[in-house]
Amino acid sequence: MREGEEIKIVFTGPMGSGKTTAIAAISDAIPVSTEVENLDRDSVDKHNTTVGLDFGQVALEDGQVLRLYGTPGQVRFDFMWRIIGEGALGVVLLLDATQVTTLADLDVFLDAYGELVRRQQVVVAVGRTTAPGAIAVADVARRIALRKKVLPVFSVDVRRREDVLLLIDALLNLIEASADQEEPNET
């Protein structure tokens, strides 16, 4: 990665996992948002939901610019997952540890971004891990291991800027390592 380079990163995961919040936590400017009223309160008790995309931007000290795109979380918007994923170099996959569907959600989004999973350019971030009934981070890691892949799994609070920056830092390291593997002779 070079100075001045723009890197596209996708924040994805099920509805209510904190994608919009995570992007807002680190974006240099107020993100572009496409939130509307959530009428499906039976699925997730949340007032608003993203139906198009979120967009934020972060300028790093080394001159790189991160373009942050958030996807909608519901499967009925899977066409947006593909559109937003075009040209992405990495994915931050957010999960809510208190949902009974956490591991199934993990599978859905790992499948959706299979090529980036294959290149190990994905970090997994699990929120609400200290809440009663929350699934353990180790369970998420074991589920990923069934795919013969090792992806970093973090317990995070996406409202905390430093937590989200940690995810970005880990992801950039993975992207760099992947680029080194694919072009070992490049200096």
Binding site: T34, L39, D40, R41, V51, G52, R76, F77, M80
Partner: protein, 136 residues
């Protein structure tokens, strides 16, 4: 509570009937889908012989309407009124029905024989009627 449950059976039936009359009396209409802002199909019209796309079109419509709204908001153009997509074989008009509670969007798909100006005018009229029915 599912989005459809926000409307009375009478209101939903009136909306379906209105979409059907609109679809059958306007030239070239293939589909008309009324969707909640978060992408659930509320009611739809489908011309005879057309394949069913209402569910997917509902989700696509809510995304595009929200993106149109984001584009006008970010550029200081206030509310987006409509999004028009033209293709070789026809056109799609999407518009938000902000005055409805909850907010709704409408997508109208028409073949080549439809005149775009008429399509837009007719779709807006449908939006006004749907908002009135929803508020009753």
């Amino acid at each position: 509570m599912k989005p459809n449950a926000r409307f009375s059976k009478t209101a939903l039936e009136a909306i379906r009937r209105h979409l059907q009359i609109f679809g059958e009396t306007s030239p070239g209409i293939q589909f008309a889908v009324l969707t909640s802002a978060d992408g659930f199909e509320i009611a739809s019209f489908q011309a005879p012989g057309a394949s069913s796309v209402a569910g997917k079109l509902a989700a696509v419509t809510s995304s595009i309407t929200a993106l149109g709204e984001a584009a006008t908001r970010e550029t200081g153009l206030a509310h987006a009124r409509s999004v028009i997509i033209e293709s070789e074989n026809g056109a799609i008009v999407m518009l938000g029905i902000e005055s409805a509670k909850p907010a709704l969007s409408l997508a109208v798909v028409a073949g080549k024989q439809a005149i775009l100006g008429h399509l837009l005018w007719a779709a807006r009229n449908v939006g006004v009627t749907v908002a009135r029915i929803a508020a009753a």
